[in-house]
Amino acid sequence: MTDTAPAPAPARRWTRDTAMDLVVSIALLALAIAYLVLSSQIELRREAAPGQMDARAWPIFLGVAAVVTAGLLVLRTMLRGADPRDEIETAQPGGLLRVGGTMAIALAYLALWAVNDLVLPGIRIPVFPIATAVAVAALLLLYGHRGWKGLVIYPIALAALNWVLFAMLLRIPL
């Protein structure tokens, strides 16, 4: 008898997934509302004829649909919690640090790249390959690579490859 008896419905709990879904869905709802408000404020050069579309019509339609859908998502998450995340791999300890560190290094790389090339008497030293090699070495360190060969040879090789491919072959002004 006990084998066939239906299992009691689990009590709804506020899991981390539910909290994350709720935060994201509320953020999406706020964005949808902001989009809708901004849509209604689009400046028009001329009004559309009755029954026809001006520059506001399509964004307003999308804004209303997004507000309704995001509202439903917030409601559903509050009432039923998040769907089971069977297909999503669990975040590992140190994973968030790797992502945050990567983002920080990428932004620092862009800032360094934006610096003008160094011009010394008779010679112009491009910043891009140096910035690239430094960024790659920093990324390897962040990801736990400690071998000096990898930390020196690979960044230089990758920077050189990018320089040859983009600056020399594709003529992109790096």
Binding site: I42, E43, A66, T102, T132
Partner: protein, 536 residues
């Protein structure tokens, strides 16, 4: 005849051949590294190909697309980890074959049947693309084109979303992003906030590299654990004998038919086709009990089916302008940048492109097959490349490739922002496909809806909106509503996108079959396969 000669002669230029070889090598590498998807690298390569001639650029992108279909079978067979989602079904029989000491045979048969599948799909493309485009050109006016866009986005939502609400919201976000910039009809500025870079809209390449490339990279960084699974090193014999080849005939036919059909459905790709093909072949097989235990038929059916989708995807993309899968969505973006808009009028304006595209696909298939058969042993070593090298290389190429599209660092910032957005979407299981489709097709939808509304007051409704448009809109509604209703009828734990559900069912059957086998040979216990199939 002129179109044929023009199409072929465009392929004979040295820079096109070089582009094809580069794309093919890239595609094989992409396929072989678990975690790198064809969509991710085609998005990245879109940055490189901006300055190329259309045929040269197509040679790079299409050969990546084709070659990734060969390379991704290697990790599926040797480490039970699909190189890309298209080879999920390969793990079901490929890995058991490798465990039985038949890895070499599995790799060879997989390469051969993949080539058969792609070649069959090229024939479909050659036969169907122009008639479909001609039909669409004569029958599709603004209402039908609007309905077609809605249909394309709805199918993508229906197939890729575990939660319909999240899928619909993803599509709406894409459509909303598509409204940024000047309104094409009146040049009114929308959501530009006085920023010059936003006047032409969001940079499509930056958005897709962010959503598919950076988001995938960040997800791997977030979830990476050191794997103890080692590639199977004993590969055994390589070539199938005659009876083994004969044995695969029926499976190849069934898998090929499934793949050709699934490929024509917008947004349905090789992952779904492979699983359906494997299941159909099992049903018609004389030895269904061997499926999931290392059956050559199962492997052949799965790989033929997933490969045979390529031509169908290409057909809907080029002839209708509706992407057949996410790789094709990226490719449409690149083609628009080159000044050739896929859609019903493409092949009327550029009939030589049909020949060039078919030629590129054919050459890429034959070269990839040759490389697969010659370099399989070497490719096994790729699985040992340390992840830090891969991650840092991908990030730098994403950054520099995106910069190359506009020569502006603000585009790179856009990419990084969408990388973070993509990661958040990934973690809450909101699919990126509908976002990209919405962004890509939104302006087209708006333009055609505006034209339809302008005509409507002047003529009777049914004279403006044809039965084709109504049928497409009805199908669009059904493709969202039916999965939603089915999902509501299932228990919450059993829910999932179409691809996920198919995979779970096939894996359960394969696991059952393997358990039966292990019970017969080793009553002490059994090991379920598919432990690492989510990494793709």
């Amino acid at each position: 005849m002129n179109a044929f000669v023009d199409g072929i002669s465009a392929l004979l230029e040295l820079n096109v051949i070089i582009a094809l070889v580069v794309g093919m090598v890239l595609g094989m590498l992409v396929g072989a590294f678990p975690g790198l998807t064809a969509t991710m690298v085609v998005a990245l390569a879109a940055g490189f190909t901006m300055t190329m001639e259309p045929v040269q650029g197509l040679a790079v992108l299409l050969s990546i697309y084709v070659a990734a279909n060969f390379g991704d079978r290697v990790p599926s067979i040797l480490v039970n980890t699909p190189g890309t989602p298209a080879s999920i079904a390969t793990t079901l029989d490929g890995y058991p074959m490798a465990k039985q000491g038949k890895a070499g045979l599995a790799l060879t048969v997989s390469a051969l049947v993949s080539a058969v599948g792609i070649l069959a799909s090229i024939i479909l493309f050659c036969a169907a693309a122009v008639p479909i485009a001609s039909f669409a050109r004569s029958s599709f006016k603004s209402p039908e084109l609007f309905a077609l866009v809605v249909f394309g986005i709805a199918v993508m939502i229906g197939i890729s979303s575990k939660s319909m609400i999240k899928g619909i919201l993803g599509g709406l976000i894409g459509l909303m992003l598509g409204t940024v910039g000047a309104y094409s009809a009146t040049a009114d500025q929308r959501f530009t906030f006085g920023v010059l870079e936003l006047q032409e809209g969001l940079n499509f390449i930056a958005v897709i590299i962010g959503l598919f490339g950076i988001a995938e990279l960040f997800d791997q960084l977030l979830t990476h654990t050191k794997s103890s699974v080692r590639p199977i090193s004993s590969l055994g014999r390589w070539w199938p004998n005659r009876s083994e080849l004969r044995q695969t005939g029926r499976a190849v036919a069934v898998g090929g038919s499934v793949g050709l059909g699934v490929g024509l459905i917008p947004a349905a790709g090789g992952d779904i086709a492979g699983l359906i093909g494997w299941e159909r072949a099992r049903r018609v097989s004389k030895t269904p009990e061997r499926f999931g235990k290392g059956s050559l038929e199962g492997l052949a059916a799965a790989d033929t089916a997933s490969s045979a989708t390529l031509g169908g995807s290409l057909t809907t993309t080029m002839a209708l302008g509706v992407p057949g899968d996410s790789v094709m969505a990226v490719m449409i973006g690149s083609m628009i940048i080159w000044g050739i808009a896929p859609g019903p009028s493409l092949f009327t304006n550029r009939p030589d492109l049909v020949v060039s595209i078919a030629g590129i696909m054919l050459l890429a298939t034959l070269l990839s097959l040759g490389l697969s058969l010659v370099r399989m042993k070497g490719m096994v070593r790729l699985l040992d490349v340390p992840q830090p090298y891969l991650w840092s290389g991908i990030l730098i190429f994403c950054i520099v490739g995106t910069y190359a599209t506009t020569n502006s660092l603000s585009t790179v910032l856009t990419m990084l922002v969408f990388g973070v957005v993509g990661l958040v979407f990934k973690r809450i299981e909101m699919p990126a496909g509908p976002v990209v489709l919405g962004l890509l097709l939104g302006p087209l939808a708006e333009e055609n809806l505006a034209r339809t509304l302008a005509i409507l007051p002047t003529r009777p409704f049914l004279e403006v909106v044809s039965p084709i448009a109504l049928a497409l809109l009805a199908l669009a509604v059904l493709s969202v509503v039916v999965p939603a209703v089915r999902s509501a009828m299932r228990s919450r734990r059993d829910r999932g996108s179409l691809a996920e559900r198919l995979r779970e069912e096939a894996e359960a059957e394969a696991a059952e079959a393997q358990t039966d086998q292990t019970d017969q040979t080793d009553p002490a216990g059994a090991t379920a396969p598919g432990a690492d199939t989510r990494r793709s």
